[in-house]
Amino acid sequence: MAISRRKFLTSIGAAIGAGTTGALTKAYGASNKHFMGYPDGFGVLHDTTRCIGCRKCEQACNEVNKLDKPERPFDDLKVLDQKRRTGEAVYTVVNKFSAAPDVFVKKQCNHCQEPACASACFVKALKKDKTGAVVYDESLCVGCRYCMVACPFNIPAYTYNDPLSPKVTKCTLCLPRIQEGKLPGCVEICPKEALVFGKRKDLIKVAWKRITQSPGHYIEHVYGEHEMGGTSWLYLSGTPFEEIGMREDLGITPAPQFTSGALGTVPIVVGLWPVLLTGVYAISKRKDKIADEERKEAVQTAKDHATDEMNKQLDQLKTRMTKEKETAVKNEVKKALEAAAKKAAEEAKAVEKPPVVQNAAGADTGNEEE
C-alpha cells in the first residue's frame, strides 16, 4: 500500500517540477500523513439548482477547444431529452432529469484530487497539475485506454475512428485560459452563475455556506468534497444525487489506493521468490543427492555382505575339500599300507615264489608313499 502511494506521489511530484513546494514531492508512503491535494488547486462549484439547461456552456466549450461542430446546434434544447455522455468532440454535456421542476446537470471531467486515470496511465500521459487540472499529453499516449477503464465517472473518450493518431479527449479545466488569467469557457459564459470558479478550498466553504443559508433548499452534501478522495469539481443539488445520474456508491477512497495493495506485493515477490525457489531447488537437489548416496551405500553393503558370504562359503568349501583330500589321501595310504601289509603277509606265506614279482611290487608301494 505504502509503496504505490509513494510512487504515485513521486510521479506527480515529477510532473510539477522543481519550482513547486517541497512538501508535495515528499514521500508520505511510510508515514500516517494524508495527501489532501494541492492546497491552491482550482475548481468549479456547480450549483444544479441554478442551472436552466441553456447549453451555453456546451457551446463555449466547443468554441474554446476548437472542437468539431455537432450536427444539431447548441440552441436546440430537444437534445436534452436524451441522456448523453462526454465524447471525442464533446468535453461537456448537460443532462436533464425529470423532476418538478426539471433538474439540469452539467457533466465533464471532475479533475479528481488523486485521479484514477493518472494512476492508471502507464506512460504518465495523464497528470494532476498543481492548478488542479488533470492534463493529458497526447505525445506520450499509446492508446491503451486503461484510463477510460479506470475513470469512475466514465469521462475520457477516444477518437476510435482515427487510424493514425487516435487520442483520448476530455475537459482540460481550460488550463491554457487559467494560465492566461481567464476563466474556463463554461464558467465565463454561464448566465445564471450556476458555475463558480475559484480555489477548491474556498469553493467548499461557499458550498456549505449556501447549504446552511438556505435550509431545505439543498441536499446536505457537497458532491465531490470526498467522493473518490475528492474532486476539483463540486456539486450542489436539491434532489438526491443518485437521481440526477451521479453515483453515490463510489466511496471516499482515492483510486490509487485500490491498486496499492497489489503494487505493494511486487518488491516482496521480487525479493522473496528467488530465495524461496532456490531453496526449493536446493532441497530437492539435496534430497536427490541423499537418496543417491543412500542407494550407493545400500548397494555397497549388499555387495560387501555378498562378498563376505562368498568368502565364507569358499573358506568352508576349501576346508572341506582339504579335509576330504586329506581323508582321501589317508584312506589311500591306509589302503596302500593295508595292501602292502597284505602282500607282505602273502609273501611271508609263500617265500618260495620267484623274486622278480617281489621286486616290482616293492617299487610300486614305495612310489605311492611319496
Binding site: 494512476s119 502507464f122 506512460v123 499516449c141 485506454r145
Partner: protein
C-alpha cells in the same frame, strides 16, 4: 530438410492448409481495415466500453493459458520432478508463442502500437498496474525466447551456443516464475482500480491473488489439453521418452490441478465472505457467478481428482478441456461480461464479427507456427545428438 520440403510441397492443399489459409487471408483483410480506417471501423468498442475481446480474450486468456511454461519448467527444474522433462519443451514453446501472440494482438488494440515501447523505455508510469504487466510481459517474453532457443540451436547445429544457454536453465526458470507471478497477478489487479464498474461478486481486493492461483491450473490444464491435441496430430514426432512420460505428466498435473482448484474455490468463498457479498448469490448475476465457480472450477476439480485417483486419463483430459473453458469464462467475465454490469443493456458491449475474426486469425497464426516448429525442431522428441545432455 530437403526431404521435408518435398513432402510439404506434395501436400500443399491439405484440409489444414486450406482452412488456415482462408482464415489468414481474412485476417490480413481485417488488418488492413484496422490500420487504414481505425479501431472504430472494425470494433464495437465505445467510450463506455474501451476494452473488448481483444483485451478480454487475446490478452487476458492468452496470458493465463500460456502459464504452462512457468508451471512445467518450475516443476521440472526447481521442484525436481524429472519425469516432466519431456513436457517442458512443448510447454515453453506454447508459452513463447502465446506471449508473442498477446503482444501481436496488442498491436491491433492499442491506438498507436508503434509507441508500445514507450512505457518501458521512454516514459514509465510506475504507479500503473498496466506498467507492471507491460514490463513483466516484455521481460518474460525475452526469457521464454531464450528458454526456447536450445530447440532451434539443436535444429541448426549450434552446439556451443546451446551449451551456453543450457547453463542458464535454473536462473531463467526462477526468473520466469518471478515474472509470471507478477504479471499474472497484476492482470487481475488491473481491475481493482474500478470497484464501481466490476460486479461485486467478481471484484475483490484479492483479484491479484485469484489471477495468480488460477494461472497455475490454467497452465497445467493447457499442457494436458495441448498434449492431447499433439498426440492426435503430431504423434509421429514424439519419441519413446515423450510417449512413456506423457501419462505421468497427465496424472501428475491432473492431481496438482485438482488440489489447486479446490483451494481456488476456497479463496473465492473467502473473498465473498470478506466483502459480505453473499446476498448477491441469489440474483441473476449470482447464478452466473455460481455457473462459473461450481460448473467450471469445482466440477472439473472433482473430475481431475477422480481421474487421478482412478488413474483414468480420459477423465483428466476432459477436466483439462473443461478447465480451459472455465479460465476463458472467468477472464471474460471480469474484463467484459461483469464489467460495466450497471450500464443499461443498450450501452453494453458485444463484440463485432471483425473483432471475433481477428481473434480467430491470431489463434490460427499461433497454431500454424506451433505446427511449423514442432514438425521441424526437437520439441516433442529429443535431438539424437543431445540425448545425454540434460
Amino acid at each position: 530438410m530437403t526431404k521435408d520440403k518435398t513432402i510439404a510441397k506434395k501436400q500443399l492443399f491439405t484440409p489444414f492448409n486450406v482452412i488456415t489459409g482462408i482464415i489468414i487471408f481474412i485476417g490480413v483483410i481485417i488488418t488492413i481495415l484496422r490500420f487504414t480506417r481505425g479501431i472504430g471501423a472494425v470494433t464495437n468498442l465505445d467510450n463506455n466500453n474501451p476494452w473488448g475481446i481483444w483485451i478480454g480474450f487475446d490478452l487476458m486468456c492468452g496470458v493465463a493459458l500460456a502459464a504452462g511454461g512457468y508451471v512445467t519448467s518450475s516443476a521440472c527444474y526447481i521442484f525436481g520432478l524429472k519425469k516432466f522433462h519431456s513436457a517442458v519443451r512443448p510447454a515453453i514453446l506454447t508459452a513463447f508463442l502465446g506471449y508473442a501472440l498477446v503482444v501481436f494482438a496488442l498491436h491491433y488494440d492499442v491506438g498507436r502500437p508503434w509507441r508500445l515501447p514507450y512505457p518501458i523505455f521512454y516514459s514509465p508510469g510506475t504507479s500503473s498496474l498496466l506498467f507492471e504487466v507491460g514490463l513483466c510481459v516484455f521481460l518474460y517474453l525475452t526469457v521464454l525466447f531464450i528458454e526456447w532457443t536450445p530447440s532451434a540451436f539443436e535444429w541448426l547445429g549450434f552446439k556451443t551456443l546451446r551449451a551456453w544457454v543450457m547453463r542458464l536453465t535454473l536462473v531463467l526458470t526462477i526468473f520466469g516464475v518471478v515474472l509470471s507471478t507478477l504479471h499474472q497477478s497484476s492482470l487481475g489487479a488491473l481491475f481493482q482500480i474500478a470497484p464501481s464498474k466490476l460486479h461485486p461478486l467478481w471484484y475483490s481486493g484479492y483479484l491479484h491473488v485469484y489471477f495468480f492461483i488460477s494461472s497455475m491450473f490454467a497452465g497445467m490444464s493447457m499442457v494436458i489439453f495441448e498434449g492431447t491435441l499433439a498426440h492426435k496430430w503430431l504423434h509421429d514426432k514424439m519419441d519413446e521418452t515423450h510417449l512413456a512420460e506423457s501419462e505421468g505428466v497427465v496424472l501428475g498435473f491432473g492431481k496438482a490441478a485438482s488440489f489447486i482448484m479446490m483451494g481456488d474455490v476456497g479463496i473465492k468463498l473467502i473473498g465473498i465472505a470478506v466483502d459480505n457479498n453473499w446476498h448477491y448469490l441469489t440474483t441473476g448475476w449470482g447464478l452466473w457467478f455460481l455457473v462459473e465457480l461450481v460448473g467450471f472450477v469445482l466440477f472439473p476439480a472433482i473430475l481431475y481428482g477422480m481421474g487421478s485417483r482412478e488413474k483414468n486419463t480420459t477423465f483428466i483430459r476432459i477436466a483439462a478441456f473443461w478447465t480451459v473453458l472455465g479460465i476463458i469464462l472467468n477472464r471474460l467475465n471480469i474484463s467484459v461480461i461483469a464489467f460495466n454490469y450497471h450500464l443499461p443493456s443498450a450501452e453494453r458491449y458485444v463484440p463485432s464479427f471483425l473483432e471475433v475474426g481477428t481473434t480467430i486469425f491470431i489463434v490460427t497464426v499461433g497454431v500454424v507456427v506451433y505446427k511449423f516448429i514442432a514438425t521441424r525442431m526437437p520439441i516433442l522428441h529429443e535431438h539424437p545428438a543431445y540425448k545425454e545432455h540434460h
